[in-house]
């Protein structure tokens, strides 16, 4: 055994990454609890699934019946079924891609059933040539690929608004964020084809859902990296993610990436729609509200250990989680096991890049000591993820949106984990 492997790199048991790669350490530290169930051996060396041919091929695969993972905290406005949200089960997933069927949802009047042949994207307003595009037509344009997180600006809001830390799991608290590989047509190409007129400054986007959900997008963003997305994770968009086409605005609050995109009106001013005034604005303690706060801030969250994913036998456990920033690339994630008194750098994984979510990992030696686990991310602008206290001090608990405070998990001597502000 490497003598330095078990030397903590920060307080309360944080270990160097190589601790996760040393099997012999597990042998020395309660590995008995990790022993696999011996069903295979009990079957005399040939379990039932080895005693006959398995199932045949099928047109579209689904997860193993043994897997029960699904979206969580599904809630809709009273009297409705499709006016609300569902959340990505963050703690149950690994890597950095969110399976399309587990991408979070936020709908304002349900998921429309759209005929992809009849659907059109209309572009009009301050343009030379008002145009309509079919899905078939858009397929013939040069497509671009973007690995990007998408986060609802209301994600994590309960941890800002609730005066005491609510006893909720990571998916319920922070599951309005997901990551996909989005493929689509650069919006700039379509706007150029229509021809912008002088005075063009905003693009009003509208969906083909029953609420005709609408948001105003600055023209600069529309011409920069906005796409009309047609594919998600290699296949056509799922209905709940905007089939057959959605606006996708990297790094901006999720509500602006209007799903089921039907209409883009170029204007000289924002439309001040309900969802950019009544909602998605941040009310300050003085009664005024910040509007058009589009970019999602630098953020990270430990997904395991977390509530419901506690600790058992004493030994080495991986601390892992996700980090992302709408301001640039994630450059660093630090982890603390002593509530922020000492920190160590976690290892970062994933393709990364601007607007991409990365995974972080840190080994931790837990020997029954109470602990408070925290992570904080730093992005390529040098911005460090703030504490909850800093955000409350800066803009009060009623500002709701764009909350990116550090998540703290309190670990008890019994290995249970719960949400904490302290």
């Amino acid at each position: 055994m490497d003598d330095t492997t078990l030397v903590p790199i920060a307080g309360n048991g944080l270990l160097p990454l190589r601790a996760l790669n040393r099997r012999q350490l597990l042998t020395g530290l309660g590995a008995g609890a990790l022993a696999l169930p011996s069903a295979a051996l009990a079957a005399g060396g040939r379990p039932p699934w080895m005693q006959g041919a398995g199932a045949g091929m099928r047109g579209y695969g689904t997860p193993s019946p043994a897997e029960t993972v699904g979206r969580v905290a599904i809630a809709s406005q009273p009297g409705t079924t499709g006016s609300g949200a569902s959340r990505t089960p963050l703690a149950a997933l690994e890597g950095t891609i969110t399976p399309s069927g587990l991408h979070f949802e936020r709908h304002h009047s349900g998921v429309p059933t759209i005929d992809p042949v009849a659907h059109r994207l209309h572009i009009h307003g301050l343009v030379e040539k008002p145009l309509a595009f079919s899905l078939e037509a858009l397929e013939r344009y040069p497509l671009v690929t973007q690995l990007r997180f998408l986060e609802c600006s209301g994600n994590s809001a309960v941890n800002l608004a609730a005066p005491e830390a609510p006893d909720l799991d990571v998916a319920t608290l922070h599951g309005l964020v997901s990551q996909s590989e989005w493929v689509g047509v650069p919006l700039s190409v379509l706007l150029e084809e229509a021809g912008l007129k002088p005075g063009a400054a905003w693009v009003i986007a509208e969906g083909a859902d029953a609420a005709a959900m609408s948001r105003s997008v600055p023209l600069g963003k529309a011409l920069d990296d906005a796409i009309v997305a047609l594919y998600q994770n290699g296949e056509r968009l799922r209905p709940e993610n905007g089939y057959p086409m959605r606006l996708f605005l990297p790094n901006y609050e999720g509500n602006m990436s209007v799903k089921w995109l039907r209409r883009l009106k170029v204007t000289d001013q924002p439309a001040m729609t309900k969802d950019e005034t009544s909602k998605y604005t941040e009310l300050m303690p003085d009664g005024r509200a910040a509007q058009f706060t589009f970019t999602m801030g630098v953020k990270s969250v430990i997904t395991r250990p977390s509530k419901g994913y506690g600790l058992g036998a004493h030994g080495i456990y991986p601390i892992t989680g996700l980090a992302w920033s709408g301001q640039g690339e994630i450059r660093r994630v630090e982890v603390s096991a002593d509530g922020g008194r000492s920190w160590a750098d976690a290892a970062l994984e994933g393709p990364g890049g601007p607007g991409a979510m990365v995974r972080f990992r840190m080994p931790w030696l837990w020997q029954g000591q109470p602990a408070t686990l925290v992570s904080r991310a730093t992005d390529s602008t040098g911005t460090v993820q703030p504490t909850r206290e800093a955000i409350v001090d800066a803009r009060g608990p009623q500002s709701l949106y764009h909350y990116n405070g550090q998540q703290r998990w309190q670990v008890s001597a019994a290995g249970d984990v719960r949400n904490s502000y302290v």
Partner: protein, 175 residues
């Protein structure tokens, strides 16, 4: 207010966009079909704060009270409050308190937003079913609950755009 949103960087992009619009994007097949005014008239829903996009028609507070009972009350409560979904009125003056109440009358900066939103999204089970006159009337009724307009008001495009909302100055461009 909105000019300030156009940063030097963004202004550069605008210029770049305007310049490049003169030439076609390489590889772009140019497959957009002409969008005729007739088709556009059938799908246009956007109302700007200036009132641009408001249709002709008018509606009174009195008419709105009856329409509200018929189409809105089941979800939003009698007289705009106390329903199973969000309160639409009340809370004027509460925004700077520890218990702010955000409603159409207390929070929304322009009356045009209410017309735009009701016409595009409400009633929840039958969006698009209300006539322009009916939408004007319901907006007039809601605004009258907090005396934003008089109890005998009749709103049309011009009148609606001229309404001064209690929180008209309450928003500023964030970072």
């Amino acid at each position: 207010m909105f000019k300030r949103l156009v940063s030097p960087c963004l202004a550069g992009l605008l210029l770049a966009g305007a310049a490049s619009a003169l030439s076609a994007t390489p590889g772009a097949p140019g497959l957009g079909a002409p969008l005729t005014p007739a088709v556009l008239a059938g799908i246009e829903l956007t109302v700007l704060p200036t009132g641009e996009g408001l249709p002709s028609g008018e509606g009174s507070v009195t008419e709105g009270a009856a329409l509200y009972q018929q189409h809105c009350q089941a979800c939003h409560g009698a007289e705009g409050q106390g329903g199973m979904n969000g309160d639409l009125v009340g809370g004027v003056g509460s925004l700077a308190t520890a218990a702010p109440k955000k409603t159409v009358t207390s929070y929304w900066p322009y009356a045009t937003i209410a017309f735009d939103y009701i016409r595009r999204a409400m009633p929840y089970t039958a969006p698009g079913s209300l006539s322009a006159d009916e939408v004007y009337a319901i907006v007039a009724y809601l605004l009258s609950r907090d005396d934003v307009v008089p109890k005998d008001a009749v709103l049309d495009a011009q009148g609606l755009a001229a309404v001064k909302m209690p929180n008209a100055e309450g928003f500023y461009p964030g970072e």
